[in-house]
């Protein structure tokens, strides 16, 4: 018997026996003449040739090739329909040394997963997509794919794909080539041996680009599905070559391997001991030794403060200064905003609690201090103030119908006073000065400390210093409190 040499043996990265298959472990689950077997072989041959078997992670979403992990002896992740590019993105980002291959069909990539493939391509993710286009849904039994040809019959286009009902076949390479991100995009076919050899080169090129760290590569492979097409393997291969290529021309749609820059390597992780400092929580970064000092008052008090006004009046900041200063003073504190959409002309309020005891509810429904920066806020919240509580109102006088005898009300044109200091927006801090002066809560030192942390610019710190002084002065002058 003549001796012979095996020119094309089984690729090393194919399993010898398909033990992950339930039965018939010596053969694949692909039909005779199916393109998947050929493409698996092209990928396996490339993995062997590039010596990347240990590094390779194959992502297989829904479709006949969901079971690619039966055959390829590499790391395998099976994923949801259409989402392979999202999964591949994260695998590659967290394991930059891995070689990630997303193996997707036409329904998966070009219908349900359109968003994921477009955005992964646009980000220039450094993984490789092998896109099998057989113009039909194979695994689910022959429904229309986004790449089904015009006039082609499927179980959901029983009269043939009609452009007025289903639109045109989606041309993925052309679509993705309109983006700047991708490095390499080629469409090949399995229509004859010559085309298959070309496909082999394309697959290898695409994966090599990834090993070089250049970025996103995609190979679309026009592939036969004889069973669903109701053809024999030879007819199916012929149909790929003669019919599919009319709608899907072969060729390289993008190649910027020469000018593409290597994707920068991820920055080195800092030492673990550095993490608290990075998060701003290392000792010394967060500043206080909580000395349990009571409020300035002789008797410890539970302050339930409501701050309210228009958006832009510094309502939330005023509340935050109080909470920060309270924390500095060793008190339990909470700050809760009534947040809204980031739009103009909204109203804004926040709830602040300062207490010597643990705070149960951070919500203030019955305030004992109301800071009303406009009239609607006064009208809304004045009735909720506890008898004996404090009210600070930014205005010139109380309306006849908006008044209470059982609370202490200080009415001052705080915004106008800030205007006179040259900064309208400091009205909130003028009001804060009046609050500190009238009630004696919180020391100057703690309030200044809070302002220094919250206000970054020197100019504003100076404005706030003047504003606080003006507020204190206003509270001292003119009969003190109006009732």
């Amino acid at each position: 018997m003549a001796s012979y040499t095996v020119a094309h043996g089984k690729a090393k990265c194919f399993y010898d026996h398909y033990e992950r298959k339930a039965d018939l472990q010596h053969q694949t689950h692909y039909c005779p003449g199916c393109g998947h077997g050929i493409v698996h072989k092209l990928i396996a041959g490339t993995i062997d040739a590039l010596g990347i078997q240990d590094r390779t992670v194959l992502i297989s979403p829904v479709g006949c090739s969901v079971f690619a992990y039966y055959y390829l002896d590499v790391g395998n992740i099976q994923v949801a329909h259409g989402r392979a590019p999202a999964v591949a993105t994260a695998v590659k980002r967290s394991r930059p040394e891995s070689i990630v291959i997303s193996y997707q069909g036409d329904g998966d990539l070009a219908a349900i997963g359109t968003a994921e493939i477009v955005h992964a391509a646009n980000r220039g993710e450094n993984f490789t997509v092998i896109f099998i286009n057989n113009a039909i849904y194979g695994m689910t039994g022959g429904q229309m794919a986004p790449t089904t040809l015009l006039g082609q019959k499927s179980t959901t286009t029983p009269f043939g794909r009609n452009v007025w009902n289903e639109g045109y076949p989606l041309k993925v390479c052309e679509l993705l080539a309109s983006l700047t991100g991708p490095v390499y995009i080629e469409r090949v076919a399995l229509g004859d041996n010559k085309q298959i050899m070309r496909a082999q080169r394309a697959v290898r090129r695409a994966i090599e680009i990834q090993t070089q760290g250049l970025g996103f590569s995609l190979v679309e492979i026009l592939s036969p599905c004889p069973t669903i097409w109701k053809m024999n393997p030879v007819e199916a291969q012929h149909w790929v070559k003669e019919e599919m290529t009319k709608t899907f021309p072969l060729g390289v749609f993008r190649d910027r391997t020469k000018e593409a820059e290597r994707r920068p390597a991820p920055a080195h992780a800092p030492p673990l001991a550095e993490i608290p400092r990075i998060l701003g929580i290392a000792n010394g970064a967060s500043r206080r030794a909580a000395a349990a000092a009571p409020l300035n008052d002789a008797e410890p008090r539970d302050l339930r403060i409501k701050v309210a006004g228009f958006g832009g009046q510094g309502v939330l900041l005023l509340g935050q200064v109080l909470a920060e200063a309270g924390l500095d003073a060793g008190l339990e504190v909470s700050w809760l905003p009534s947040y809204g959409p980031e739009m103009r002309s909204g109203t804004s309020n926040c709830h602040v609690r300062l207490s010597a005891r643990p705070i149960d509810s951070p919500l203030v429904s019955r305030p004992n201090v109301l800071l009303a920066l406009n009239e609607p806020s006064l009208r809304k919240f004045l009735p909720t103030v506890e008898p004996g509580g404090w009210v600070f109102y930014n205005g010139t006088a109380l309306a006849e119908d908006c008044h209470r005898e059982d609370v202490q009300i200080l009415v001052r044109p705080f915004t106008k006073m800030a205007d006179e200091l040259g900064e309208t927006r400091a009205g909130n801090i003028v009001m804060l000065g009046a609050l500190l002066e009238s009630t004696g809560v919180l020391s100057e030192q703690h309030v200044n400390g809070a302002l220094r942390r919250l206000v970054k610019s020197e100019r504003w710190l100076e404005i706030n210093r003047l504003a606080l002084a003006a507020g204190r002065e206003a509270a001292r002058k003119g009969n003190g409190h109006e009732k």
């Binding site: 967290s94 992780a269 947040y339």
Partner: protein, 363 residues
């Protein structure tokens, strides 16, 4: 130890990084956006990955990818985004991948509004995706717990190889309180089952497809056994002033904070009221509810939905005691005053059923 005044949403991110989380994938949505914003700031500095995905669908599948690759990973969103993530959460549970998902609940259904609500209880606690799976659900009610329970969430996710949801409402996410963080950061570590693209992990397979009915049933039973174990071992709750309580209030998140004030005010009126605050919503503190049945005349569930948590309380009570219900929705939080009125009514209705001191009721 020093404390820091920060928002709940930011506390989640710091807690996550301290727990060894090094990947964040998300999509902005009010009132959860500060999570993505803080993650964008801190994760890259900590040597991690941050990526703003094209959608919540993509984000949760990126979480799937990072989890499959063996890194601690999380995402954060709010109701509408969580709805979109449910498919991915089902796959994560099916493939037994650990991850942490923060849901900062807002008003629904549909676009609803961005104010706090608790209407995601069913979709999160009961598992809003397809198939027989559960997510473990932790419900913080303070900013400190946003940090602490996020840390715990990563431990549980790995222990059970299952998604864990930190379920908070818009107020817990948006409010600021002092937080004390642990002094040391946990080190990221390797997981033997992950697919890392290395020789050691080459034979690993992450999948959720099992075509053979017998194989899938065995898998589903294994998941079930895992959830039964969580029901035995992972339950957490705060039982506050319940020892002598005739009316037991039940609530979580911001509502539990209001209920603490209600308990104080009710007791000042001479009403024997306590609070059961489930910290794990799944597994639910069923045994504690049953224990409280011995003493309590009635339960009063307060939530910011039209009745979701209350179903779990009723299932646990199994008809032993009346379960009353009070709710606000649309972004309104029940005030202590209105809740106290309802507590008074409840007490008046059930006082004749109150169990005399020292005597055990059936239960």
């Amino acid at each position: 130890m020093a404390k820091q005044l920060i928002k709940g949403n930011e506390a989640i991110v710091k807690g996550a990084i301290l727990a060894g989380c090094r990947a964040f994938y998300g999509y902005p949505i009010t009132p959860a956006s500060e999570i993505a914003e803080a993650a964008a700031f801190y994760f890259p500095q900590a040597g991690g990955v941050f990526l703003q995905a094209e959608s919540e669908v993509a984000a949760i599948n990126m979480v799937y990818g990072a989890a499959a690759a063996g890194v601690r990973v999380m995402t954060g969103s709010s109701g509408p985004g969580i709805s979109l993530m449910q498919e991915g959460i089902s796959y994560l549970a099916g493939a037994e991948l650990p991850c942490v998902v923060a849901d900062i609940m807002r008003g629904g259904p549909g676009l609803g509004n961005i104010a706090p609500e608790q209407g995601d209880y069913h979709q999160v606690v009961k598992g809003g995706g397809h198939g027989n799976y559960r997510t473990l659900v932790l419900a913080p009610s303070s900013v400190q717990e946003m940090a602490d329970l996020t840390h715990l969430a990563f431990e549980l996710a790995e222990e059970y190889r299952n998604p864990v949801v930190v379920l908070a409402d818009g107020y817990i996410g948006q409010m600021m309180e002092p937080v004390e963080f642990p002094a040391e950061a946990a080190a990221p570590h390797r997981l033997s089952w992950a697919v890392e693209g290395t020789a050691e992990t080459r034979h690993n397979l992450i999948t959720s497809i099992l075509l053979e009915p017998d194989l899938l049933e065995a898998h589903v039973r294994a998941l079930e056994a895992k959830y039964r174990r969580a029901e035995r071992e992972a339950v957490r709750f705060e039982s506050w002033r319940t020892e002598d309580a005739e009316i037991v209030l039940v609530g979580y998140g911001i509502v539990a904070r209001v209920l603490k004030a209600v308990v104080e005010q009710a007791r000042a009126r001479g009403l024997a009221v306590g609070l059961l605050r489930p910290i794990t919503l799944y597994p639910f503190p069923v045994a504690e509810v049953r224990r409280l049945c011995r003493r309590a005349a009635a339960f009063l569930v307060v939530e910011m939905s039209t009745g979701q948590l209350v179903e779990d309380v009723r299932l646990a009570v199994e008809g032993r005691r009346p379960v009353e219900f009070y709710s606000r929705t649309g972004g309104n939080v029940p005030s202590a005053e209105e809740t106290l009125d309802f507590v008074q009514e409840t007490a008046d209705r059930h006082s004749q059923m109150a169990v005399p001191e020292g005597q055990l009721a059936y239960g």
